[in-house]
Symmetry: C2
DNA sequence: GTCTATATGAAGATAGAC
DNA sequence: GTCTATCTTCATATAGAC
């Protein structure tokens, strides 16, 4: 097993001090970005010395990679916790969409998104890992959900395959809300607005692909 | 007129040397991020000395703000160049959507997006400016387009207002393509994939809100 | 493995001549 | 306004004792 799939598995390889360092480094990197974060800040946050950090991680980049890998794993885990009940397409999409929005609009997910998107040109593997950890996992879940609905003749996917339909739904869910939150870090999203958007997304999707 | 609306207007205030500096700084900041960029790199890229930079801009932050402001203005300009022909909703949306995708998937727009999203927590005004310069401008254009279509009874916006409908269309256009490109900087998007997504977005929108 | 202390380089910003 | 040279601070990383 090369890529750790859960936080627990990832951290099993590390001693307690290393986990302390990772935890502190996460906070610092996610708050200040790769270049904005300094090993001094991390060391101080972790309450250890410089050499302890370098005893476990060859250099700043290695530590950064470990941090983002860890965060992506947690992200995946929090998405996989999302439940959906096959049978009622409307209800399934509502639950799935609502949970998805809660995840991607959370402070920690936004921070991860910011740093991954910013550093992807310098660390392409991070971009790939993030995409696989988040958007792709959700896509699979939604595709499964839609597959059931298609088989049950609740929706009609003649002109579009399951993957594409899933991407349509996710795009509708993410909508302007994600971008707005990214560009207005000081303004949290109103719960009522989030509800409204979930309804619009579902309405749009069901109108376009539902069987009436 | 407080906020410059075009590149030309913005640069009118600056002497030739200052424009050289801004231009060089744009390249460096957009490539390396705020913290990754150094005043040395900028100075070298511009072919001027340190003091010349500091003669025109109080400090690194001020220069950064000027650069992003300039980039946002260019972004707005390139979007406002997009034409749409009232009358045929399908065709209007196709032209608008296609042009929009070309803009947001361009290297320069992606670079701007990366740095704005990354630095928004430290420079909230940049986030606001970017949102107003890009997404909001497109939203207005699409809303106008949809308003015409609604009046002409080509679409039916009973359960959703023009602004919301515009956001739906934009979300569908941006879709997974934008995110994929952001997380895979090394893999340009296939033109055929872009075409396919434009069609899916329009099909979905017209099915959901078109009058048949 | 972990600490304190430090080497070494590079960053942002300024002084002073022209 | 623009240059060269430099000040000061702070960054990453390491040496050497325990």
């Amino acid at each position: 097993m090369n890529v750790p799939q859960t936080v627990a598995q990832l951290n099993l390889d590390l001693g307690p001090k290393a986990r302390t360092v990772i935890h502190a480094a996460s906070k610092i990197f996610l708050t200040h970005g790769f270049n904005g974060a300094t090993t001094d800040m991390i060391q101080r946050e972790a309450g250890v010395s410089k050499s302890t950090v370098y005893a476990h991680f060859a250099n700043k980049e290695t530590l950064f990679l470990a941090v983002i890998q860890n965060e992506c794993a947690m992200f995946t885990a929090s998405i996989q916790d999302i439940e959906f009940t096959p049978g009622n397409i409307n209800q399934s999409l509502r639950l799935l969409g609502h949970a998805y929005l809660n995840v991607i609009l959370s402070d920690s997910a936004l921070a991860l998104y910011r740093i991954v998107v910013a550093e992807a040109p310098r660390f392409p593997s991070l971009g790939h890992m993030f995409y696989r950890s988040g958007p792709n996992v959700v896509k699979s879940m939604v595709a499964t959900c839609l597959s059931h609905a298609n088989n049950a003749n609740e929706i009609n996917l003649n002109d579009i395959n399951e993957q594409e339909a899933a991407e349509v739904f996710i795009a509708l869910m993410r909508s302007e809300l994600h971008l707005y939150r990214l560009t207005h870090p000081d303004k949290p999203v109103e719960p009522s607005l989030q509800e409204r958007w979930t309804e619009i997304a579902i309405m749009t999707f069901v109108r376009a692909y539902g069987v009436h």
